[in-house]
Structure formats: C-alpha cells, structure tokens
C-alpha cells in the first residue's frame, strides 16, 4: 500500500525465511567473518575467469538459501537479482540455473534493497508465493570493468572504496519464519554534481539522506523507531557527510545507532581498503548475514537498511559527467516484535 509518495507499506508483511552469504578472502579476514556461510580463500575461486568466479559465488548463495529453506528452485515463482557487470550478466547466468521467472534489476550498490523491495511487494500482493532476491559483486570483475586491470599499479586516493567480493541471497514468503519486511521506500535519483569516481561516498550521501527523510515522512516515523539505521556503503567519507546533512535537516539521527555497511565489512585501520567497502554485494552480505541473524535472535528489533548506489558507467565519468545516485530503504522487523 502506498504511503506518501515513495513508500510501500506491506499490510501483509512478507518474511525473510532463508538467507545465504558467500564472500571472498579479504571479507573473510574482516570483523564479520563468522556471520558468513562460505568464505572463499582464493579470489579466483579456482575458476578460469573472474567473471566465472562471481557467477560461482552467486550460484552458491542462491542454492544455499534454497537448501536452508528446504525448498527447490521450482517452489519459487520469481527471482529478482542484479550485479555490477555489464548487462547484469552474472545474474542472467544464475537465473538460467534456477530456471524460474526472472527480473533483472540494476541499481549499482543499491541493487540489494531494490531487489528485496520488489520481491517483498510481489509476495505481499500475492503475485507470488515464494520469491528470491539476490545480489553480487566481485572485486576483480568490478576493477576490470570500472577501473584498471587487477594487477595494474595505480595509487588509490584515501576517498576510494574497495568493491567487496560477496554474494547474498534471501528467500521471501508470507509462509514460514523469519524477520519481516514492514515497508520499503524507493529512492529518487539525486545528483549534486560530484564527478570523482574515487569519491562515491560523497556522491551518494545526499541520496541516502533524501530517502531516509522520505521514509520518515511517508511513514510518520523518527530515528527512535529503529535500533539501527544502516546505510549501504557510504564508507568513511560519505557516512559522516550523511550524518551531518541529516542533522542539518533537523533529523535527530544521533538518537539511534547510525552505521554503514562499507565501514562494517572491513577493519578499516588494518586492511588496505582506503575509505571502506562498496559494491552491490556489500549491503547484501551484511543484511542477509549479520542483520538477519541479529533480528532473528532478538538482538535487534527494527532496522532500516538504506542501500545506496552510484549509477555511473565507465563511459559517463570519462566523458566528465556527474554521478547520478540513488538509495532504496527497506524496514525490517525482528521476529515476535509488535
């Protein structure tokens, strides 16, 4: 049901009944290592190409989510997924394996919540009984496509973010147990003219702020309604900017825990990742890993996950264009929370 201009309130709240997270070596050395299902010790995962490695990871995530829910892919009526590669090719191959109706989506790093919101809406409206949302990113495939060859020695500035290697999948349904999806707020494209692709945090921060404010206004909520409001990869440059912008707009964001996936995934001081993590997989592996676990265990009651995406292409920034950004928010509620 529409609330305000941008938010969907789910009268029948769909539940996340199963999740799976697969990550690469660098993420496996990070502070969240014990929240992931599988950690690959090698970046190439013994595949011939980086692209095949990413595909393997996403395949594993979707299969693991099915196994955990004790379901077969034929029990699902929709698969919504996206990744960072051209033509979201990783997902098309994974959807081929699943052999179920498929909607491919692209929202750069916001794809995780974009796909989850769409699946939640389809489940809540009764269009499907079981749906899966999945997202992935791979450091080497992203470097190859957006930046330089993996082994090229270019010095990265301190504002740069490290694309994470990881895939996350979630199965959503009205039947079964799990944290529920209360609402989703679909973001608008916000572009305040940042052109530096090595400073995506600053480019995306206003989009996160816009969506968070829209969410509160549409649902008559305040930061106090959530135990945790977590942005999807603004990292150490963008996250403080978002916080300051929210405070400037009069949103008392410091009343609750306001964190960022790009800051959580790595140990920023110890691991060589500049400003922190990014990538479509980043918010996916944290939401479908740590956050869903804590919502299930009752450690968290309500969480607002705001995944942010920088929607530029390698051509657009080379031509000097600005970076259009977006953020999608999904409100999650723990089990047994009224």
């Amino acid at each position: 049901m529409l609330r305000g201009q941008q938010s969907w309130w789910f009268e029948k709240a769909p539940k996340i009944i199963s999740t799976a997270t697969i990550v690469g070596p660098l993420e496996g050395l990070g502070p969240l290592a014990d929240t992931f299902d599988v950690i690959h010790p090698e970046l190439d995962m013994n595949e011939k190409t980086w692209e095949k490695a990413e595909r393997l990871m996403l395949n594993q995530a979707t299969q693991k989510a099915l196994t955990k829910a004790n379901l077969d892919s034929s029990d699902l009526q929709i698969y919504v997924g996206g990744d960072l590669l051209n033509q979201i090719i990783t997902n098309s191959f994974v959807a081929r394996e699943l052999a179920i109706p498929y909607l491919g989506v692209f929202g750069a790093c916001s794809t995780s919540m974009e796909s989850l919101a769409i699946v939640a809406q389809l489940v809540s409206s009764g269009a499907v009984k079981y749906g899966m949302a999945a997202t992935s990113s791979h450091n080497a495939t992203a470097e190859k496509q957006f930046r330089y060859p993996t082994e090229y020695g270019a010095q990265k500035p301190p504002t740069a973010q490290n694309t994470i290697t990881g895939s996350g999948a979630a199965i959503v349904s009205l039947q079964g147990k799990g944290p529920s999806i209360e609402a989703a707020t679909i973001g608008k494209v916000i572009d305040l003219g940042i052109t530096d692709p090595f400073n995506m945090g600053a480019a995306m921060a206003p989009a996160a702020v816009d969506t968070i404010i829209a969410h509160f206004n549409d649902l008559n909520r305040t930061p106090l309604d959530y135990d945790l409001i977590i942005t999807g990869d603004l990292a150490s440059v963008g996250h403080p900017i978002a916080k300051e912008l929210l405070l400037k707009e009069g949103v008392p964001i410091n009343q609750t825990c306001f964190d960022d996936c790009g800051l959580r995934i790595y140990d920023i001081e110890q691991q060589d990742v500049q400003a922190g993590g990014s990538g479509a997989g980043c918010s996916a592996v944290i939401t479908y890993g740590q956050i869903v676990q804590q919502l299930t265990e009752g450690k968290l009651k309500r969480v607002l996950m705001v995944a942010t995406g920088a929607l530029m292409s390698p051509i657009s920034f080379q031509q000097g264009d600005t970076i259009p950004c977006i953020a999608h928010a999904v409100a999650l509620k723990g089990m047994g929370v009224e």
């Binding site: 993996t150 082994e151 090229y152 400073n199 206004n217 008559n220 305040t222 009069g250 060589d272």
Partner: protein
C-alpha cells in the same frame, strides 16, 4: 498501519542544498591527501628503482665488457622482466599503492601497465583479449611520447640545433 502506534510527528523538511554548496561542503569532508608523504615515497622508491637500474648497468659493463651505451638496452630489458614477474605474482600493484609515482614513472611502471592488461584480458582470447587490450593503458604513453618527440624534432630543425 492499523497496528502501528498513532502519533504525531513533525514532518522533516528538506532544505534543498544547491550543487555548488554541496560540492564545497563535500570538499571539506575529504581526508587530506598525504601529498608530502607521497612525494617523499615516490622520490625514495623511484630513486631506488633507478639506482637498481644503474647497478644492473654496472654489472653488464663489468662482466660483459659493454660500454655504458651498450649496457642501457639490456638494463631496460632486465627491469622490464623484473616488473613483469612482480606483476604476474600479484605484488606490483600492492607495492604501487605505497610507491605511487615512484613505481609508475620508471620503465617498470610502463611494463606493469602492459603486463597487467595482457593478463587481465587473456580470458577474452589471445587476439581480441590480450592482443587488443595490451596497450589499453600504455597506448596513451606511446601516442603522446611520439607526438612530443615530433614537436621536439621540429623545434630542433627550426632552431638549427642538433640533428644531422
């Protein structure tokens, strides 16, 4: 929504910061670039690579009785070989994050740019992958190097200095 607590919440307004205002604000939030440290590291590591090159030249001169001019080509080849091996082992890019221009400017950086592109695009085949992508990064060095040489050559002719 029926189960939700009814409460009155003041709507948050949006001040609509202009692009220029935001850009200058964002600029103040960037961590300062460690320019001095970067310059120092580039100087030290770039200098070390050149010293290594000089050492290799001396070796060729000493053991193979080459003149310094004769020794320059095998020296460059040796440094390229070292750079390609380090690139293949996945070490050069990590080293470059510390060295910056120090590892990019010497011939080892040029070799790294070609080797890394060649390795990266091998997956797309020898012709369309390695063959056509090898100069992806190094190509501009060649283009602008040739253009610069052309301009300098013209200057020599016009000014009547050098040349034969």
């Amino acid at each position: 929504m029926s189960k939700q607590k009814k409460k009155t919440v003041t709507k948050y307004s949006k001040s609509n910061m202009s692009s220029t205002e935001y850009q200058s604000f964002a600029k103040t939030q960037e961590p300062p670039r460690t320019v001095l440290k970067n310059c120092l590291m580039a100087f030290l590591i770039g200098g070390a690579i050149c010293t290594l090159g000089q050492g290799v030249t001396e070796l060729y001169m000493h053991f193979f009785k080459m003149t310094s001019e004769e020794a320059s080509n095998p020296t460059v080849a040796t440094l390229i070989l070292v750079s390609v091996i380090l690139t293949s082992l996945g070490v050069y890019d990590k080293f470059a994050q510390i060295a910056g221009a120090g590892s990019a400017v010497p011939v080892t950086g040029f070799a790294n740019s070609m080797a890394s592109a060649a390795i990266e695009h091998r997956a797309e085949g020898l012709v369309l992958g390695t063959g056509s992508n090898m100069f992806k990064l190094a190509g501009s060095v060649i283009v602008f190097g040739t253009v610069a040489a052309f301009i300098v050559g013209i200057a020599y002719i016009v000014l009547g200095i050098g040349g034969h």
